[in-house]
Point group: D2
Chain length 401, copies 4
């Protein structure tokens, strides 16, 4: 990338929304796809422009900029934030740096999109939420990246709950099952160290399902009772051991986060919920499943079949009732008037396109984005209560308000 | 049924096993079908004979005898037990009478089959288990009716676990979801009163899933953390209010059992488990679902599709791996060499045919039946720990040994 | 079976309907289960009694009588028909003997149930249908055993079509897929010889789907265009070669029936249909699948999941429409008020219980049974048109009326 | 779009492949997404650049250029072809203009990508195929857009067939079911007029399934026997009636193409196939389903669940065999090393990204693209045989070679 180039994305005649992104791994690639595509599919009030990307390794970040179509590259996130041609800072780094970057970006007058979990501690999240609230008064927006709210099927579920199709809620059961740690020989990484990742399955997978369950239910959890476990406590250290703690004589290092977290919960309405987050569910690759049962109906969703929402209308005559598979690809389903004809499904990355769509609209209209940093903080409080309950022999632990 | 008739079932030249059954409602009908059919499909060492059936209402029990093909009818279970032409007493009554009848039958020298849950309290179950052990020394057998072990698909799952196809166990998640109490106007019945039913979803549905989870895992639970809830505390009393407690001015009576029970658990090996039993899962009719995840593979089953077992072989190359639907209808699947060609599925009632098959073999061979009263007692202890944990703010509660 | 015994089944105080069955292989076992069970589950106007069973091998038929609970055994079907204690003759033999037995039984004044296909030729079927019509005038009934009409889910489908829920019919697609001939080393049997079986997949599987398609559609086929194929033309002869034709030097004999039959068709209304019957669909064990699409809705069924009917209500708003899984286990579903609670599924053999139920009612009420021999004849005409079209280069061939 | 802008897509330092696209409706949007994304996800040898887009309506095409990110807009396809800054012409117009544009583009020295069906007649397709062959000798490539070969799951199916996992092929059954014409009040459009669309379901849906079936089978069809039907022959004309033929007094115009096409077929190997293409399958939105059965195994795919391939390994022991759901999202599945982690599915539009990927590689490496215009011609010959058979009373009609 010898010369700075015209940022990808404009030519539309619309005012630009210039993005600066920190981080370029899995989430960075997904967010790039979201920013690049949103304005090409939706008729947005402002055109997202991929202005600058930031990473510590200069060669790598320049390669990433070329690959993903960012106009400029930076190696210092403070420099990125300082750029005049950046309107919005998109934070795709591990959780331990979220607070520092987000606070600096808000202080610099930028809008902020921050990946989940919002922070590695409730304290950090509280500071971020307060800063976001103050920034909102100055016209800046701050949003947390719970992208699974933006699958058309989950957005339809939310709409149907709001329409009263579930009725008085009795049960929510939700699990997020992956299997990439089943093999005890899989190596130690930053994701398995508390000081870097904050927690294990709980923060990575559990944060998603806590947010989604509360979002779909339209209410918050009141308290939890939890079990967590680390099945494999030592794993081989492969390559650079930087930041992975002490290495044992046998070449292994210690896993300091949970491998799995299970918890039961009560919603404020009295409905019951169960949660499970694990990386040891052999054969389940990305099985985020949620089911809501209420007095009038039920809804069920599985991320491995993300174009489908299952609905049982409890008000139908019993002889014709049944869970129906709604193929969520119709023009009057959320987000779908801009996409393909019925039956032509979307994929995982479209959640980031929709996230960009929603955030651009919020910025253009000065609306508080949803989910806000306050929502991210509340999820953090649920995760903290889960950890506290797990430490205290699973005793039921109320969520701080 | 003016004249006693020749008991249905013999003419086979085989020694008879003469059954006396107490109770003739849902379970009585299902057990009748099991006893009537087992010797017609399987080549059994002894031929079950439907000798006598017992119920309190003389006209009703005689009608049931005619309907289901029992040779004689009794209105006093003590008279049934006293009959010379009864070898085995099959107890299909509500849980509050199990202990008394079973103890008397064992004392009278009969074999016993007792519906689950074994009793309404741990104390009763302990007495029954001790009596069964003593009777076994005298050559009498006592079995508890956890019929869901006898679905061919669950029996195949057990065999595959025993073969090592799941490997080191990490997770068991199991739920039993029904929906017949969703409507708050559904009437109060004996099943919703503690003094008659012992508990609600917990004893009715939870007992099944605790037994099945432990049976399939091949190990026992060490402790539990539980939430229970009664969503609808008053229900209309329709018709006879006998035994349903005080009636309020508005014509309702009190529900004194749980509507739903959720618990997490640890197996003795350290594997984690989650359980949910409810009658409020709108649209789920009989959804007993269980999934086991281990280091080598996973198995999943759903009672609403009882001819299928899903298996993921974790040792396959990733590019061709996936959960496979085993249609459990092949001649080398459990119980199936006696039934229909591949693909011709069985139903719910066949679990009772297989239960009869297994018990007749155990009797003929003098083998301790499986599950024994001791197994029933252990399940009772798990249920008691669930109730204790629920009362104590969900604190983790070890299972008594 | 040293002594004749009291026929199984009575003691009910109801008038008996005494069955004499010819044949005791797969179909004989299934019919036995049907006759034995129907009166124990349903409150029938007459009680089926298993009076006598007939087969050529004396020892084998006596063993079958003992196994399945028949009071007497015969080795000559003419003797069976001549018995005074037989009211209804149930023909479970291969197709080449159907006509002779059925005609004799009707002549002897018996009711007749005849397995499908009704006969091995249209000519035989015409004679049988005429004889049945004449017998009906004398008060005798004749029914053909298309048992798949009696799965609760297909019976519900028929009811929903009759209610207008499918509307103007556009498409019916139906296949019956099995795989037991995939291995070219599987041996030659009577089922693979035209002189015994009449045809291959066509008569065995195709007869079922032609009947079911017409029954559910509520109208008849007008014409067909067909392809048939015999993939493996020589197969090893194992054991007795009686009736299997000439044996080649390499120990194989010739397959003289179709392995697979595919045909497209027009219904009289102009709706289109496609049919496929094969024994070479690797991994499909008993996959009878049918889907109907009409202007108002669609229905789909798969025999491998026989407790489910899938329904798409085309009049619903698109945003909430989808194929729903009706678990056909509710008390207001066909046949199900006599069985188990919702969600407790039935199996394959229950079609024979329901067939017995329907035939007993028809006999008691003097109603023409459904499907009649005339219906069986019409299916035979469709199969003949399929064979004719296949011989004539697939040219569209009208069905004779 | 006041000023020409720098074409989207470059800045990568790689040689550009400059695309000129004709048409900007559904297919134009999908192809734009493909060209825009391919170089951002895959490391391509040349970077696709969205150089110019062409449409007849000047304002509309300029809006489309802005929306989809094309640098320039043209209103005359001859002008587009004449541009020096276009290396490859991508034809997304209705079938009646394919031949003229493709021949001109090849004559102008451009590479060509042409949407399916290749042409509206065999004659046109023959001319195009000959021109493509001649152009290939000059270093130009020509590809036809059968994008469904590029779903990862179908690409995996092709790989597994090539590895011998299906073995000797017996059956292919394939259908493409949509429902957007079920309502007889849906208006007449160009797609329902023969002179514009060439045919109805047959060319639109049937072309896809003929290509996919032959591609997956790895062999060609030998002959077909077909039924076609137009269920609704008059439809209301809404808005501009241009090109829709005569309007009746009742405001309707004539549908001159097929609504549905069913055909059976033989492959050259002797395997049998069935095909169905319809727009009247109520509730089926985009159900392209294909199943292959062979002596060693079976494969099944449904476009409505496009991240899944179902595989039955016929060489497994029967007790553990079953159709397995391969979630085609693993890094060693086709195309997937560049995308997301396992379980994070793709959507419909990714087939166009993969098409772009494959064509860019073919251009860079001078390889003949797959599927070629010769492949497109052969599919056209199959469709012609279908129409001929349908006209000749379904008689079996060989495919011209």
């Amino acid at each position: 990338m010898a010369q700075p180039q015209e940022p990808e994305g404009n030519g539309s005649g619309k005012p630009a929304l210039r993005i600066g992104m920190v981080g370029y791994a899995f989430m960075g690639a997904a967010h790039s796809q979201g920013w690049r595509t949103a304005g090409r599919v939706f008729d947005l009030p402002r055109q997202p422009v991929l202005a600058a990307i930031c990473g510590r390794d200069g060669a790598a970040v320049r390669a990433a900029a070329d690959q993903h179509g960012w106009a400029a590259a930076e190696t210092d996130w403070r420099a990125l934030i300082a750029r005049d041609d950046v309107d919005l800072v998109d934070i795709c780094t591990p959780g331990d740096s979220h607070a520092e970057i987000a606070l600096a970006a808000l202080a610099a007058g930028k809008h902020v999109l921050c990946e989940k979990p919002l922070a590695n501690s409730v304290e950090q999240a509280e500071t971020m939420s307060a800063a976001a609230e103050a920034a909102y008064a100055r016209g800046q927006l701050a949003m947390v990246g719970f992208n699974y709210r933006r699958v058309p099927a989950t957005a339809l579920a939310r709409r149907m709950v709001a329409e009263g199709r579930v009725g008085t809620l009795r049960h929510v059961r939700v699990s997020y099952l992956q299997d990439w740690l089943v093999d005890p020989r899989a190596p130690l990484t930053w994701r398995l160290r508390r000081e870097l990742a904050g927690s294990g399955s709980l923060g990575d997978l559990g944060a998603h399902i806590v947010d989604l369950a509360q979002h779909l239910a339209g209410e918050r959890l009141a308290g939890v009772s939890a079990l967590t476990e680390t099945f494999v406590r030592q794993r081989p250290v492969a390559g650079a051991a930087h930041g992975l703690g002490a290495i044992s004589a046998d070449g292994t290092g210690q896993v300091t986060v949970d491998d799995a977290a299970l918890f039961t919960a009560r919603f404020t309405s009295g409905a019951l919920a169960s949660f499970e987050a694990t990386r040891y569910a052999t054969g389940r690759k990305n099985a985020l499943r949620i089911e809501l049962n209420g007095e009038r109906g039920s809804l069920a969703f599985d991320l491995e079949r993300l174009n489908e929402l299952w609905y049982h209308d409890g008000t139908e005559p019993g002889a014709r009732a049944g869970f129906r598979r709604i193929l969520v690809t119709e023009p009057d389903h959320p987000y779908l008037d801009a996409w393909w004809p019925p039956g032509h499904g979307l994929g995982y990355e479209h959640t980031f396109v929709h996230q960009a769509h929603d955030l651009v609209h919020a910025v253009a209209e000065g609306r508080r984005p949803d989910p806000s940093f306050a929502d991210g903080l509340q999820v953090q409080r649920v995760l903290a209560a889960v950890e506290e309950s797990a430490e205290k022999n699973s005793v039921y632990t109320p969520i701080a308000v």
